[in-house]
Homo-oligomer: 356 residues x 2
């Protein structure tokens, strides 16, 4: 997988640190919370010297867990938030009525503290989006914020899909913004100079698709803010030929869940086959290390969560099933986007579309 | 996989045959045509005693190939069609201007000969659809014909998706018709008493989705012609929990191609891993037979092609990459649908929706 190019920077000493990048980590809301969130945070503090983390959630539980770890205590702060928003709660209700939840308190802090750059949360996407728009607000000119997750491709790179479900019933103007915002994201976070942008469609020819796709194609083709390479069929998502796939939230959601679901089902079937006889167990034992490599490389936990594009601050929605590694990857991404002035770059690009 | 329940009927003797079921096989248009089409036809003739096949295409080539096989010559006829429609030809142009092609001559024969019940073709879906609607016509009351392919599920059953790409920009009334037509198909061809129908959506809750899904859900829920079981997320397509998934052609196409594409990419990756070292080759050798079983069961060639639902006669679009086995499966399905009065049943069900 393409790595963040900050790895080499990890070697600097604390004396060289000019400023701290403050990221909030919502300690609750995921399947493995708060342990994974806390371990991921400690790991990030230990690896990134100019990072400052605020862990939001039940103070007693967090502090008890933190006691098990060694880390620089001057760069990790805990703020008490007594309640948690569950995944099945109504996002709008939660935003207005669960003010003392770890997620809403995180969003309030992110809004009110100019020193804080970003938030990582594994909580409900809906609550994060609704709360994010209401509390943090959209970047000027952004029509609708979009959700932009990453998937590993077969050539060990990544591909981003924007939108993946935040916006159903989209317009062509919104799809153009998804393309621009996703491109700015990949340029900033992954140092991809000119991300190859494709439009999700049912055929590669320009004339293919429904009305939305037919209207969007020329808009993407004519934009000088992106590197549009044409239509993509869903079967080519993992081919490594594209960096960013643009879709309305309905089709994007179908695309991602079908791809992930099929991988999971097939790997399960393989596992069952490997265990089904003595001969197979023997064969599987020989293949074990390389099969684990495939499983590992397909594992969403090895990648940062989905960036919510278009909000006034950096907000990353981690996978609900995130482990410590995945939380760490999301924090690293939030930190890196902050350090590279992502919001400023995005604002500039959006104002360029609006002025065109 | 669920089998056609006609297998036990194969034992009858020729004396018991009351009438012949005539099916046209377009001998050209697929990647392995005409050899696969001819072998599949001969196989079907040898296995199904009340089947009569008309092979349409270049007479000299077909007869030369037929000479290599043993079969009951009284039940296999060749009609000469000098040209072929390629996949990249404009469907409307092909329909009106390639009248001597194997596909258009097949559709003309299907239209004009009341004794012929169905057609199997591996040619371009577009040309088959446009030509089908213009020449064969729609069943009274059908808004738009739909394409309904089958996929193997993880519990070795099948799942049908309707529509898979014939109709983008659909209405709720069209989606209801897809649900009813698909159900009648599965009842007739696979003896599934009460097919479990799901609506493709981005969440399982009733309130989820875009406007089209929100409008369609109550329509499906209230219909007494189908067994609607709720929304399905794309990740569950292969779960075996559903028999028929209803979608607009755009989303259905994204769903199917993402699912098939991911399987193909993963199996390729596995193959590469198996061959990557001596140790792995040894392990793979032990697992070989069972891995082949998975590959075989995922292979679209083991299943019939996609039924075009809503036309006045049975038309099956075989996979472009069909081998003889796949052609045989498609012929068997066309024959079986004819024998079980599928078009009559479908007309009745459609008139029931229209009268409601």
């Amino acid at each position: 997988m393409r790595e963040f190019y900050i790895h080499s920077e990890y070697d600097y000493t604390i004396n060289e640190v000019k400023r701290m990048y403050k990221i909030i980590v919502d300690a609750f809301g995921g399947d493995n919370s708060p342990i994974a969130n806390i371990e991921g945070s400690v790991d990030a503090i230990n690896k990134i010297k100019d990072l400052y983390i605020i862990l939001m959630g039940d103070e007693n539980i967090i502090k008890e867990e933190l006691n098990k770890h060694k880390y620089d205590k001057s760069r990790l702060e805990v703020i008490h938030a007594p309640s948690v928003i569950s995944c099945d709660e109504n996002p709008t209700f939660a935003t207005f009525h669960k003010k003392d939840s770890s997620l809403m308190m995180s969003l309030d802090k992110l809004k009110n503290d100019p020193e804080v750059s970003g938030l990582v949360s594994l909580s409900s996407t809906g609550a994060l989006l609704v709360g994010g728009v209401i509390k943090i607000g959209k970047i000027k000119g952004v029509l609708r914020p979009a959700c932009c997750p990453l998937l590993p491709t077969m050539n060990h790179e990544i591909v981003a899909v924007c939108d993946s479900g935040a916006n159903v019933d989209c317009s062509k103007e919104e799809l153009l913004q998804f393309a621009v915002m996703g491109s700015t994201y990949l340029k900033t976070a992954y140092n991809i100079e000119s991300p190859r942008v494709a439009l999700l469609n049912i055929g590669v020819e320009e004339i293919k698709g429904d009305n939305l796709r037919k209207e969007t194609y020329p808009l993407l083709k004519e934009s000088n803010l992106i590197n549009f390479v044409g239509n993509m069929e869903s079967r080519d998502l993992l081919s490594g030929k594209y960096d960013l796939v643009v879709a309305d939230g309905f089709a994007g959601n179908v695309l991602i869940k079908a791809t992930e679901g099929t991988s999971i089902e097939l790997l399960k079937l393989l596992k069952k086959t490997f265990m089904s006889s003595f001969k197979n167990k023997l064969g599987a034992a020989l293949l074990k290390s390389d099969i684990y490599k495939i499983k590992d490389f397909m594992d969403p936990n090895n990648y940062a969560g989905a960036l919510l594009l278009g909000l006034n601050k950096i907000v990353i929605k981690g996978h609900g099933s995130s482990n410590a590694r995945s939380v760490y990857e999301s924090i690293k991404q939030a930190y890196y986007l902050a350090k590279n002035n992502f919001i400023e770059k995005l604002s500039n690009d959006i104002s360029e579309i609006v002025s065109q």
